[in-house]
């Protein structure tokens, strides 16, 4: 096995860093108790972000009666949460639109997957009546960030992929046995180097195995775990590893405790997730963004 661990720090440096404003935005959403003015100020100081946000706000999806010319006004009309999520979607769509050659998926698939997983995670958090819905959304957008690096390693191991797939019950285990690390571990290192709040590092590290996480984070991580799986079920995966992760025992327990879950709640949730995802896609396309 090549020593991939040695290469990680250098590769993290080579990932285009997200701007200080984006980090501050993630930080605000992670804390969950941000003030409207802080949010507006943060977006307004970044001209590109602010103009893209206004384009989104003025798109037909929101059907506002008149044109909105300022972020503050947008926050009043749409609410801080919506505007924060629009801003986050705007900045991360660029960072996540990379070819994951090692996973055999094209440039928009990681972004599409992250967007749907984020929407699904927020819906699950709502279903579980958790207060951290926005954090679940932001964490959903970030959960697979480690694939940006693991993809490069998988390219080098292309000859051994078949072997790993034929004996595969869990792609995370395959990554670990092929590379000595996996996209969850590497993702948490990226989050650390970006100085993201601990909650995001925890979600990224444990999103496939929430039952291994410290108890205080388990509910939030469960939302992202399920959001990730729902996105794959609905055909929005990242290529090679789609559908190749087991459901965590914590998720099974959660579903078992609620008899209506599989037959009634889940199907309704999946319908709502798809509708919201299609709207988010229309929003990104509507401002001349990438075809998600």
């Amino acid at each position: 096995m090549k020593n991939y661990l040695e290469k990680i720090p250098k590769m993290i440096q080579s990932i285009p860093a997200i701007s200080g404003n984006t980090l501050a935005l993630i930080d605000l959403i992670g804390k969950g108790d941000y003030k409207t003015n802080d949010l507006a100020k943060m977006i307004e100081t970044d001209i590109t972000l602010s103009s893209r946000c206004l384009q989104m706000v003025n798109s037909p999806v929101f059907a506002l009666k008149s044109q909105v010319g300022s972020i503050k006004r947008a926050v009043v009309l749409l609410g801080a949460t919506t505007v924060a999520n629009i801003a986050l979607q705007t900045v991360l769509s660029k960072a996540l639109s990379k070819n994951l050659t090692g996973y055999q998926c094209s440039s928009d698939e990681l972004w599409k997957h992250s967007l749907m997983a984020a929407i699904a995670a927020r819906r699950v958090a709502g279903e579980m009546k958790l207060e951290c819905k926005d954090t679940a959304y932001a964490a959903g957008l970030l959960h697979d960030i480690g694939k940006l690096i693991i993809s490069e390693f998988l390219v080098e191991e292309a000859d051994h992929i078949q072997e790993a797939l034929s004996d595969m019950h869990d792609f995370l285990g395959s990554e670990e046995s092929l590379l000595g690390t996996d996209h969850a571990q590497v993702g948490s290192l990226i989050a650390e180097s970006w100085r993201l709040p601990e909650v995001f590092r925890m979600v990224i590290l444990h999103h496939h195995r929430p039952s291994d996480a410290p108890e205080a984070f388990q509910n939030l991580i469960l939302c992202v775990h399920l959001g990730d799986i729902f996105a794959m079920m609905a055909g929005t995966g990242t290529g090679l590893d789609t559908m190749s992760y087991p459901l965590d025992p914590l998720a099974e327990k959660f579903m078992k405790n609620d008899v209506a879950w599989e037959l009634q709640k889940f199907p309704k949730l999946l319908l709502d997730i798809d509708v919201e995802y299609q709207e988010a896609v229309a929003l990104t396309n509507g401002i001349g963004g990438r075809d998600v």
Partner: protein
Amino acid sequence: MINKQILMVGLGHIQVSKTPGTIIKAMALGSCVGLVVIAPRYRTVGMVHIVLPDSKIDKDRASITPGYFADTGIQALMDEFKKRGVHNRRDMIIKIAGGARVMAANNSFDIGKRNVLASKKQLWQCQMAPLAEDIGASYSRTMWVEVDTGRVFIESPGRGRWEL
């Protein structure tokens, strides 16, 4: 030379075509089921992208997008064939793919399996059955059918491409 045209079949969508050169394609079926109908005598093919087994869960949605559900989706696809003059079930060949399962310790939460079973039940009620199937397991499948040949193909990242 005829230009190839690809008709994408999104979640809950239905596509039917007899235009030469056309390919009807559903990307990355996870727990969803892609159900293809081929009518060789009419040189017509079609596909529905089924997401959930039963339309009872949301009647409104089923009336707007019947393809979302196995029961209403298959019926709607058959109706599309009828509109094109294909009335006799003996003129139709059915092939299905997808229905991948989420791995779980006690096989709980297998929407993929339920999608497949509901699709077969609906076909059975129309006195039909799939001639070929590639279902279950834990990987995604992209499925397409060619109008020119009626051949159905499946592709999965890392697993290559094969004919159904």
